[in-house]
């Protein structure tokens, strides 16, 4: 296996990681500020992808499609927050799990009702398609490079938002002490809606961006949701920094595991068995990673001590 190939795979892992980060950041923000477990986060990802596909088909503009994804997911987020989530903040996690599980069912069926059961078409724009040659001779799709760029930019933006703006200060205050910021006269209801909409918009953006190189279909959100949960649990729930590190870890483990585990097995067994055993183990690898992290640090890498 050549060094070039390994480098390319690291890039792939990185790209998968930053997209996961978009999902995980919203999830962890919502948990950190409101203490809410939102299983329906994957549905917002799906809403973003479908909105983008719909607008792209109507206008032919990818940028407009991205805007539509952001707006549609944020709007869906606001609706969900004001109608349902609000009543759940004071409940225990169990009620939240059930209610948001119910929301997944509703979102999936409504989308199927509106768009039908066939996958939709959404492609990267021409100006972002095809490969470029990177230094060292790696041929790499421009679109994936763009994804890495967007992911890192959003990460930076979130960091700036939470550290440098009034909203960020309020968000962090909300994480630490809800009564305190209510006492300071901040409209906590509006803050919650805003945070939820922000998380939803990030999920919608991820859905649209990833949808362009994958399949836009009902149910696309759930596998990503599970991965995003793995990410925030590894990183420590509520920590944006943890979500970032966790997302990269999961992205790299998932990508590199699929490549190297079969090779590793080939050292001890015949190739056919090795490919299969390697593939089996690699599909379990991120869960193994997560349980190892939790056994070592029961509240994740950057989580507050229980």
């Amino acid at each position: 296996m050549s060094l070039i190939l390994i480098l390319e795979q690291v890039l792939n892992g990185l790209q998968a990681g930053v997209m996961l980060f978009l999902m995980a950041a919203g999830l962890t923000l919502i948990f950190g500020v409101m203490g809410l477990i939102n299983l329906a986060h994957g549905s917002l990802y799906m809403v973003g992808a479908f909105a983008a596909a719909g607008v792209a088909a109507a206008t032919g503009s990818f940028l407009l499609a991205l805007v539509a994804a952001l707006v549609a997911a944020a709007a869906a987020g606001v609706v969900v927050e004001t109608v349902v989530m609000r009543r759940l903040y004071a409940r225990d996690h169990l009620d939240q799990v059930l209610a948001t599980f119910a929301l997944i069912l509703i979102f999936s069926e409504l989308t199927r009702w509106a768009f039908g059961s066939f996958p939709l078409y959404l492609n990267p724009p021409d100006w972002l398609s095809g490969p470029v040659t990177l230094p060292g001779g790696i041929r790499y799709p421009v679109y994936r490079l763009a994804l890495i760029g967007i992911g890192l930019a959003v990460g930076l933006g979130l960091w700036a938002l939470t550290r440098r703006t009034r909203l960020g200060i309020r968000i962090r205050a909300g994480e630490n002490d809800r009564e305190m910021i209510a006492a300071l006269g901040v409209d906590i209801g509006r803050l919650y809606t805003l945070v939820f909409a922000l998380g939803a918009a990030l999920a919608g953006l991820a859905g649209a961006l990833v949808g362009a190189i994958q399949s836009v279909q009902v149910g696309m959100g759930e596998p990503v949701l599970i991965l995003a949960f793995v990410v925030i649990v590894i990183g420590g729930i509520g920590s944006i920094r943890g979500a970032f590190v966790g997302a990269l870890l999961v992205g790299l483990t998932d990508t590199l595991g699929g490549i190297f585990l079969p090779e590793l097995f080939k050292l001890v067994t015949d190739p056919a068995t090795a490919t299969q055993a390697g593939a089996s183990l690699s599909s379990m690898s991120i869960y193994i990673l997560m349980s190892l992290v939790l056994i070592w640090r029961p509240t994740g890498l950057f989580g507050a001590k229980a």
Partner: protein, 376 residues
């Protein structure tokens, strides 16, 4: 399409007790795989409508692609609705859950899609008929086509589950060249960047892949975008009418193998394509053709005998397969699986629509590899 179902049900209701034959259709109408089941159902009901028979009651239920739901529906249809014939299942794992126990209870099962190897071989049954293909067939044809094209160094990949493992085995059964690589991907995987990088580095002269549903869409889009220009070949599942539009340009020119295509030149097929489009406003898919053929096979056998009165005669009529298939000649092998030609098709664009065109025959009169194991 809902209208048609209601019409069929109403027709059955109107005749009331006169409905002589009850057929249970268990298929996938919700969730990610719903497109396939809807096509099977629509093709099936279209044939029924065209036959003009109002004494066949079809009970259609959604299995949501969950094996235990399918089993439960089968139990209900057998115990409560007292159907004599079951059909409709799209997925091998659901078929394996339902078929063995159903046929052992004396029910006839006509498979419009799934053809797991167990049901073709050691666990074949006199009441089980597969109208589509044995699972390996299209992959075998892909291997044969690779030989005809002169490919000598294939990179092959499929998801890590039984159908995926069968796919690679099927390809290798006919393919005579070298393997540049063999990968099992995760079931439900959506990102293939890592695999594509390996393909690029492998020095292969061809890529064979079996990635049904959304997996195939993702793979093709990403493959096209990666700039790797090694020719790709695969079974029809990823190039079907239902999903081609979602893949778009990325699929253009790809060769895929199928036992059916909308340009197979026979009157039955031409009429089917035209009437399906008129009824549902979309081009029929592979699955729709299989549903259509299944219904016509059923009707042809019902002309001869009633399954509850004379199951042996009904079975014999099914074995005779005396109906006009959209595929032209149609014949059952000793294990009740088709013996048929499998074509190589190419993805082309007709106006705004992406579709397939036959470019040659990959395998002629192909039965399957498991018939010998079947002691029937």
């Amino acid at each position: 399409m809902k209208g048609l179902y209601v019409a069929a049900a109403l027709a059955a209701l109107a005749t009331g007790a006169a409905a002589e034959v009850k057929v249970g259709m268990i298929t996938t109408l919700s969730g990610g795989g719903a497109g396939l089941g809807i096509d099977v159902r629509d093709g099936f009901l279209l044939a029924l409508e065209q036959s003009g028979r109002d004494d066949i009651e079809v009970i259609v239920e959604d299995d949501a692609q969950a094996p235990d739901t399918a089993v439960q529906l089968a139990d209900r249809m057998i115990q409560s609705d007292r159907v004599q014939v079951l059909t409709g299942i799209v997925w091998s794992n659901l078929a394996m859950a339902v078929v063995p126990s159903a046929v052992n209870q004396g029910i006839f099962y006509l498979s419009p899609n799934a053809g797991p190897s167990q049901l073709a071989g050691a666990n074949c049954h006199e009441n089980y008929f597969n109208v589509a293909w044995q699972n390996d067939n299209l992959h075998e044809a892909a291997g044969a086509w690779a030989n005809q094209t002169g490919y000598a160094n294939s990179f092959i990949l499929a998801p890590n589950y039984p159908a995926g493992q069968d796919a690679l085995t099927g390809y290798k059964r006919f393919y005579e060249g070298e393997l540049a690589g063999e990968i099992y991907t995760e079931l439900g995987q959506t990102d293939y960047a890592a695999e594509i990088a390996q393909i690029r580095a492998s020095g292969a002269d061809s890529v064979f892949f079996f990635l049904p549903g959304g997996m195939g869409i993702s793979f093709l889009k990403q493959y096209a975008d990666s700039g790797v220009d090694i020719p790709v070949i695969g079974p029809a599942f990823s190039f079907d009418q239902g999903i081609l539009q979602a893949v778009g340009d990325a699929a253009l020119g790809v060769v895929n193998t199928s036992q059916w295509s909308k340009d197979i030149d026979n009157p039955t097929n031409a009429a089917f394509v035209e009437s399906f489009q008129a009824e549902y406003g979309r081009l029929p898919s592979l699955y729709a053709s299989q549903g259509f053929d299944t219904a016509n096979l059923l009707i042809s056998a019902l002309e001869v005998a009633d399954p509850s009165e004379d199951p042996d005669a009904f079975r014999a009529a099914l074995e005779a397969a005396d109906f006009d298939s959209t595929r032209g000649d149609f014949e059952f092998g000793p294990n009740h699986h088709p013996i048929q030609d499998i074509y190589a098709r190419e993805v082309v664009q007709e106006g705004d629509v992406f579709t397939n065109r036959i470019i040659g025959v990959a395998l002629e009169d192909r039965g399957d590899a498991y018939a010998e194991e079947c002691a029937m």
